[in-house]
């Protein structure tokens, strides 16, 4: 069996919710990779240019200068913080989607029971797999993503701190 039909079969066994989980998973990992790409490629140049701009300023202690510094810092902050909240949000969402899959699977099981009675465990197996596979998938994917999300969050905080210290308010 080729991988394509195997995957399709797996997704069909898990029911419709598994497709939603797949969608959210793709979104989540796209966001995570985008963040890493940003940190490794775009962030460094922007940070260096902002730091240089601050260092070129003659006045570093007036109200206006402080506001200017805040602006420079905030520009970097906004760039870094983009999507970080969404990543944690999606991680929280995945187990919930898994739970949704559990309940829809249970509905399938009870439907089968209503038509065929409880004497046919094989007929119920489809619903049971539709109940368990999304739960597992949601759990596994959110667990896999948690380390990356934590790491990204720590990186964001560290970079913020380091940039702030690279822009001293005294000359």
């Amino acid at each position: 069996m080729d991988i394509n039909s195997y995957l399709l079969d797996f997704l069909n066994t898990g029911g419709n919710v598994l497709w939603a989980i797949l969608l959210v998973t793709i979104w989540l990992w796209f966001l995570i990779f985008e963040r890493y790409w940003f940190f490794f490629r775009e962030y460094k140049t922007q940070q260096q240019s902002n730091v240089k701009q601050w260092q070129q300023c003659a006045d570093k202690s007036s109200w206006i200068a402080t506001q200017y510094r805040r602006q420079l810092l905030s520009e970097l902050d906004c760039m870094m913080a983009r999507n970080l909240k969404l990543i944690t949000g999606l991680i929280a969402l995945l187990p919930m989607l898994g739970l949704l899959g559990t309940v829809t699977g249970m509905i399938q099981v009870f439907e089968v029971m209503a038509y065929l009675g409880s004497g046919n465990p094989r007929a119920m197996a489809n619903g049971v797999s539709a109940a368990t596979i999304p739960t597992m998938a949601g759990m596994v994917i959110s667990l896999l993503a948690i380390p990356f999300a934590t790491e990204l969050d720590r990186r964001y905080r560290r970079e913020k701190r380091e940039t702030a210290s690279a822009m001293p308010t005294y000359s």
Binding site: I64, L72, F110, E111
Partner: protein, 459 residues
Amino acid sequence: MKKISFNYAGLSRASLLGLSLFISPNLQADPLKDLYLQVSQEVSEEANHNSEREKKFKAAAGEQKAMLAEVQTELARQEQLREEMQQTFDLNETQLADLSTQLDRRTGNLGELFGVFRQMAGDTEKLLFDSLISIEYPERKAQIEALAATTEVPTIAQMQQLWAMSLQEISESAGVTRFNTEVVKPSGEAYTAEVTRIGTFNIISEDKYLNYSSDTQQLVELARQPDSSLRSTAGDLSQTSGGTPVGFALDPSRGALLGLLVQSPSLVERVQQGKSVGYAIIAVGIFGLLVVIERLIKLASISKKMAKQRKDMEHPSDDNPLGRMLLAYYENKHLQDLDVIGKKLEEVVFKDLAEFRRGLATVKVLAAIAPLMGLLGTVTGMIGTFQAITLFGTGDPKLMAGGISQALITTVEGLCVAIPLLLASTILSSRAQQMSKEVGEQATGMVAQKAVDIASAKA
């Protein structure tokens, strides 16, 4: 009897005579003599007549006797005949018994064959009546019915016919064929269409799966068709001209699974299963979605206006936070005290920050409420189920199904409402946070830079 009547006639005549005597007592003696003569003459006549009769009777009696004898001999003859026939009958009876045992002995295997043939014909009849192939060859039904109804030992031709039918069934069940036949829509109207039969398993018309009900002998379109991906495989099969292989989703249960499909409830029916709690959850979801949409539009319009303002810093307008801050700066520029100006700007910013965060709490609360309402539906559904159990026991799972489906559907609805609301609340809050950073820090920076520019222009 005759004698009595005769006597009676004589007596009446005598009394008449007596009467006449009595009436005319003074008549002459001559008439009396005449009377006597007449009487004696009549008596002798009477005696003659009687003896004649007697003779006649005697002659008749002889005749009767002869007849009796004749009859008796006839009877004896018949009895003898009966005797003889009885014997022949008994003889025949024993002969018949002999012959029938002989027949039984000789047809021993043949009788078994007849039984097997009838049984096979009956089984095959049922099989052919339920089979999809019979739609293509409707004439088979009459043939198999005639075969199954035979009461005599089958002929070789009949046996070969049954054999040929079974073979046809087997060979046809391996093939995919197309033919035109009548199809009934779920609404009841019939039309003629080209159908494709896949062995004995499924029958399709274009991309629609059909169901064959052997009771009514009709091909009916399934009221609820399977997924579009499965239907497209049916469409491919209907259109292919052979040669290239096409994939097809087959129902190996000969339509039983497809039949169950019709019974599974649609989306609307599922929503109705949720009952009042379900509707409440849906209302919450719609309300939350409206709030989210309003917020998204508002935030997008604010950020668009700010971008526009950033390009044109010379003409501040009060429809965006940056413009309002610039206006506040221009109003307070004469104060010369930067701290005071800073405070004024902060005041403006605070108002805008409140605007960004408006509605966020509502969405968050709704996202938290929805699963709780689902839980409420679960519990009320379970209460219904347990009430059904108290009333009817656990024997019939169908009685409990209503409560259970309510319990599960409301949970699903709660989650279905909570998940998008939660996602939206995350997106909204991160967007609001970013915008408040932009306004609070970058916009003040821009105002500060503007102040520097103005100051340097003055100098």
